[in-house]
Symmetry: C2
Subunit: 408 residues, 2 copies
């Protein structure tokens, strides 16, 4: 922070801010991305060495030589048509999703997709249903939009559909139809679990029965290291009650800021009309449209090797270092391991010690909308190499063991 | 539209949409950018030939070679610090704006800036004040946010500050403080006028007196073809009651999707906290940070030559072709000429004929929040070369003359 920043005049702006701005924590989601000298397990950052800078440079040269007058101009609000068609091929081949151009909207990463969904469905005070815990960006975005979040627990097979149905029945008795049910179907962030095939089908039936839709966030679909791929809820439902969210952030790179929504044309049309802009990241979309067909499949194959090794290294290190009574997820894919400590540990309180010793992680409370998660932490194995993972986990194990000794 | 698109299931989603989505016109702001075989005066698109594709390619190679691991990774929510510092230099040198890093937020073009301002200040039903007519994207965004817009007229010196003060006094009598006053200070879109220095000072005093702030949209600052540059309202006020919006869309290119907000740190902090994303267009920001110091000044000089010629060609063509009683603006910069026809012309109705003859323009009603503008049209001189401008204006002149003959 530059200390010479000009501060507000004598009167504040308090009376002018909206409800959502007034209630903010006043901190940015990502505010220290330049700090890389500690071992960071905090965010789901991809491996820096895997980012395909050379290939992206070559794709940029081709895209600008062939279509420079389009790549630097305003673009269609729905996104660059050439990129949409390439995504349609990818979705059909890998996800089993059959989509037309009218089913797809390009967004600035999953963040803008989630923003548009909130703008399109949620008025202040409206009810939505979410897995608990869930993606910290969703926790913030739901809060900022004034949504009344009905938290629903997850277990090893994903969202607990019996608990979900009880919640929806209770809401119906109160005359409330939730605007949507938000789920992360593969390698759930943070818990690492996959929604089982049976539950995917049950979820569709429940959404239909209660007159609502499913928002399926599938950021990690391509990053499965073990087991068989499951069809997205969207594919099982043929897209009738489901809006599907995807992203290039975990494959080509987050810096591209390219994501997409797939959904019923009526929903896509409305969200497109809400997106009052001159197109989404047009330059980057033209570059991505060149890069994807040439490199995506090989790139994903390489990432799976890298991340499988890192996951295995982290699991082995946890086994060696964590105090008795600690449990953790064993995810088949994605970026995260979810650790739950015995009573006596507060991961929020423990963070200062960890940082002092050069290790960073996400306290579990950031992933809950209802204040739980004191004994939990989310560890990203994606960003650090095996040596740093071993060193970092050993440090966290020592700190947790010390905490328990004091507590005991 | 692909006719095989899967339509909604038997039940619609009507009950699930938010207020802002329910009231939408159901059409995207830009939905036919691929259509370039007509003479288009509709949108403020930059000259395609001026887009610096080769330079951007070279900047991309350098940015990715030097900082590829940062350019493709997640980024700081406030924007790439390297780009912010370059903008600070530019703002100090050209605009006379003295800003620290805490005063600046990078956005995905002016569109995201306006979205964030609405999210941060406007709850459904809140009151704002806007010039009338104004930028069509603002008209849409204000409507979608449920803002109660108090339209305030403009004349040759910009917003009518006497009318503005009457509006604010009336609101105060009703106990209402408008969240902000939105003005385009230079080469107003669509009317082409500049806010006079005297009125810039008056506007600051009025904002202070009524406890509100000014949102100063200055997309066209760099594109002045005649006369002397005026200091931005932000600079005159030293940023105490003003949030300043800028963009690269009219210079480096809209496809970059890079804009910025400059404002008091308290406001920038809140808007940053509302911007729940993984950074704005990180890849493009690294490319822009390489391109700007090398090329921006020369590029602007070239654009001024091109656009001055096009403006002069359009003014001359209007003089030759338009029926008596037609008036138009003579802007010192920017992209637009604003034409007002005599009674008997409806520019909305006339549009079908114009399109049939291969010419497109923006009917004036799109720029008003209160249904006016039937006799007005906005003509962009930025996108078409002189030959097309002459041909297009001749056609519009013939159509208007014919309409008046029928009406008379």
């Amino acid at each position: 922070m530059d200390r010479t920043a000009r501060e507000s005049p004598t009167h504040g702006f308090g009376a002018l801010f909206s409800r959502r701005a007034a209630g903010l924590p006043g901190r940015a989601l990502l505010d220290d991305t330049e700090v890389v000298d500690r071992i960071s397990f905090t965010f789901g950052f991809p491996d820096a060495a895997s980012l395909p800078a050379q290939q992206v440079a070559e794709s940029t040269l081709r895209a600008l030589a062939e279509r420079g007058d389009r790549a630097l101009q305003y673009g269609d609000t729905r996104g660059y048509g050439g990129l949409i068609d390439i995504l349609r091929d990818k979705l059909a081949r890998d996800q089993g999703i059959d989509a037309t151009r009218d089913n797809i909207l390009i967004t600035a990463g999953s963040s803008q997709a989630l923003d548009l969904i909130l703008d399109g469905f949620v008025d202040w005070g409206d009810t939505i249903v979410s897995e608990n815990p869930t993606f910290l960006g969703a926790v913030s975005a739901f809060r900022d939009a004034g949504a009344n979040v009905v938290p629903t627990p997850i277990d090893r097979d994903g969202i607990d559909v019996a608990a979900l149905e009880r919640n929806l029945a209770r809401l119906r008795a109160d005359g409330v139809t939730p605007k949507f049910i938000y789920v992360i179907s593969n390698f759930q962030n943070p818990a690492g679990v996959c929604l089982s095939l049976e539950r995917r089908r049950a979820l569709i039936a429940i959404a239909h029965r209660y007159g609502t839709i499913v928002i399926e966030d599938d950021a990690y679909f391509d990053l499965r290291y073990d087991g068989e791929q499951l069809p997205p809820i969207y594919a099982l439902d043929r897209g009738e009650h489901v809006v599907y969210m995807g992203t290039l952030s975990k494959t080509m790179g987050p810096g591209m800021r390219i994501g997409w929504l797939v959904g019923p044309p009526e929903i896509i049309r409305r969200l497109t009309a809400l997106k009052v802009d001159g197109g989404t990241n047009i330059f980057g979309s033209h570059v991505a449209a060149d890069w994807l067909p040439r490199h995506l499949a090989d790139h994903i194959a390489g990432l799976r090797e890298t991340y499988r090794r890192r996951r295995d290294a982290m699991l082995a290190a946890l086994e060696r270092s964590m105090p008795p009574g600690t449990t953790w997820s064993r995810p088949d894919g994605g970026f995260f391991i979810w650790v739950t400590f015995p009573d006596g540990i507060d991961t929020g309180r423990m963070l200062a010690q960890a940082r002092e010793r050069g290790v960073d992680y996400l306290p579990g409370t950031r992933c809950y909308s209802d204040g739980r998660g004191q004994r939990d932490m989310r560890l990203a194995f994606s960003f650090s190499d095996e040596a740093r993972i071993e060193r970092g986990i050993a440090i966290l194990g020592e700190i947790a063991t010390g905490e328990l000794r004091e507590a005991g």
